[in-house]
C-alpha cells in the first residue's frame, strides 16, 4: 500500500516532506487537503492531526504528523538509494552534530524566515494586512543569525558537517520563498551561505517539488 501524504501542492511543509520522499525515491500519493475550504479544521481531519495543520502521512498503518518528524521517520525506515548518503548519521557524534544542526534550523532560522514569508507572501494572499514592523524584525534578526551560518559554513560544507543531512533540507521551503518576500539574504549575506543555498535549491529532489508536490509512483 503506497505511502499517503495528506497535504496540498504548494504548502511549505508538504513540500518539505515531498523533498525527502524524492531524495529516498519513495513512491507516494498526495491526497489533497484544501485549506481554503477549511478541510484541515474539519472534525475528521482533527482526529488525525489535532492541531489542524498540514501535512500528515499514513504509511503501513502508522499515522504521523509534523513535517520534520515525518522526514525523520522516512529516513529511519527506508534505506538511502545507492549513491545517496544517509540523511541522518548513525554514529554518536555525527548524530549529535546533526541534532545540533536540526535545532539550529528550528530555533535560529525558521521563526524569522517563516515570519518574513508570512507577512509579505501569505498574508497578502489571504487579503490580510502586512505588519511591516514584524517583517522588519524578522529580516534584521535573520540577518544576524545568518552571520552564525556564514561562520559555520566557512568551515564545513553543510550545517552538520561535510555531508548533507535533513537539517540542511529542512531549510529549503522557507529559504526559497524569502526572495518573493522581498528578502535577498540567502544570496547576499556572504559567500558561504550563498554557496550552500544555491546547492540546496539545485538538488533534483527540490526541483521536482518546488512548483508543487504531486503523487509520484516511479523514479
Amino acid at each position: 500500500m503506497v505511502l499517503k501524504l495528506h497535504g496540498f501542492a504548494l504548502s511549505t511543509c508538504t513540500r518539505r516532506v515531498a523533498t525527502v520522499l524524492h531524495e529516498y525515491k519513495i513512491p507516494f500519493e498526495l491526497v489533497p487537503v484544501d485549506p481554503s475550504k477549511g478541510e484541515h479544521k474539519a472534525a475528521a481531519y482533527l482526529e488525525k492531526q489535532p492541531f489542524g495543520q498540514v501535512p500528515y502521512i499514513e504509511d503501513d498503518g502508522l499515522t504521523l504528523f509534523e513535517s520534520r518528524a515525518i522526514c525523520r521517520y522516512i529516513v529511519d525506515k527506508y534505506r538511502a538509494p545507492a549513491g545517496v548518503s544517509p540523511l541522518v548519521p548513525k554514529d554518536t557524534k555525527g548524530k549529535a552534530l546533526f541534532e545540533q544542526a536540526a535545532s539550529i534550523e528550528y530555533s535560529n532560522f525558521d521563526p524569522y524566515a517563516s515570519g518574513a514569508v508570512r507577512e509579505k507572501v501569505f498574508k497578502p494572499m489571504r487579503g490580510l494586512p502586512t505588519d511591516q514592523s514584524a517583517y522588519d524584525f524578522c529580516v534584521s534578526t535573520l540577518s544576524a543569525k545568518l552571520d552564525g551560518y556564514e561562520a559555520i559554513l566557512g568551515k564545513q560544507k553543510y550545517l552538520a558537517g561535510d555531508e548533507i543531512t535533513l537539517a540542511d533540507l529542512f531549510h529549503i521551503p522557507y529559504a526559497s520563498m524569502l526572495a518573493a518576500a522581498g528578502c535577498d539574504l540567502m544570496t547576499t549575506k556572504g559567500p558561504n551561505v550563498t554557496r550552500w543555498f544555491n546547492e540546496l535549491t539545485a538538488r533534483a529532489s527540490w526541483v521536482a517539488v518546488k512548483d508543487g508536490a504531486k503523487s509520484f509512483s516511479s523514479y
Partner: protein, 221 residues
C-alpha cells in the same frame, strides 16, 4: 574521563532544561557560569564555540555541543535504558512527532510569554510587555486544547511513558503559569484536566525539583 561541563547560567532558562535532563539520567556535571551580564557569550572566543552567541553548550570530554534539545538528545542516547528516546521504530516516530509538537506548537508562544513572566518574577531589569504576554498566552490556550485531546488518550505526549518530548516543555511550561495561580493557570485549568494531570506529573519529578533555586554542579545522585 573528565566530568561533563555545562557552560551556561545558574538561572538561565535553557541551562535549566539541560540540567533537568542530566539529572533524569543521573549524569554528573559541573556548571561553569558564563558571564552573560558582561557579554562573555558574545566574545570572539565564545563565538568560535557557539556562533550564535547563546548559552548553554556542553564540553563532554572535549566534544562540544550546543542547542539544548540536541544536548539532551545526545545524553539520552548514551543511556537508552532510561527510555527517554524510544528506540523501537514506531515508538521512535511517535516520539519525534511529540518532540516536533513541542517545538512548533508549544515553544513559540510559551517561550515568548514565559521568558517575560520569568523576567518579571525574578525582578530582572529588562523591559516586558503586557501585550506580548497576553497574545502569546492566548495562542497557547488554543494549542493546549489540542494537547488535551492527545493526553485524554494517553499518559504522555508520545505514548504511555515519559520521553524527552514531555521534559522539553520545562522550564517554559512552568514560567507561563506565573500569570495565574497554583490552582488556575494556563497549564492547570479545570477545563483541561488531562493537561493539568500531565503538567503536575512533570513538575513533581525530582529532576525539576532539584534545581528550583538554580542549576548547581552535581557530582553525586
Amino acid at each position: 574521563m573528565a566530568i561533563l561541563k555545562l557552560h551556561g547560567g545558574k538561572q538561565a532558562t535553557c541551562t535549566r532544561r539541560v540540567a533537568t535532563v542530566l539529572h533524569e539520567l543521573q549524569v554528573p556535571f559541573e556548571l561553569i557560569e558564563v558571564d552573560v551580564a558582561n557579554g562573555a557569550h558574545k566574545s570572539p572566543e565564545y563565538l568560535k564555540i557557539q556562533p550564535f552567541g547563546q548559552i548553554p553548550y556542553i564540553d563532554d570530554d572535549g566534544f562540544l555541543l550546543y542547542e539544548t534539545r540536541a544536548i539532551c538528545r545526545y545524553i539520552a542516547a548514551k543511556y537508552p535504558e532510561y527510555g527517554l528516546i524510544p528506540t523501537e521504530p514506531k515508538a521512535n516516530a511517535l516520539f519525534e512527532q511529540a518532540a516536533s509538537v513541542e517545538l512548533t506548537n508549544f515553544d513559540p508562544s510559551a517561550s515568548k510569554a514565559g521568558l517575560q513572566l520569568w523576567i518579571r518574577k525574578m525582578g530582572y531589569p529588562f523591559p516586558t510587555d503586557d501585550k506580548i504576554i497576553a497574545d502569546n498566552l492566548e495562542t497557547l490556550e488554543k494549542k493546549l486544547d489540542a494537547y488535551e485531546a492527545i493526553l485524554s488518550k494517553q499518559r504522555y505526549l508520545a505514548g504511555e511513558t515519559i520521553t524527552l518530548a514531555d521534559i522539553f516543555h520545562l522550564p517554559y511550561g512552568v514560567f507561563v503559569t506565573y500569570a495565574g495561580s497554583e490552582s488556575d493557570s494556563v497549564m492547570n485549568r479545570a477545563s483541561r484536566p488531562n493537561v493539568a494531570r500531565w503538567y503536575k506529573q512533570l513538575i513533581s519529578r525530582p529532576s525539576w525539583l532539584a534545581y528550583l533555586d538554580g542549576v548547581t554542579t552535581t557530582t553525586a545522585y
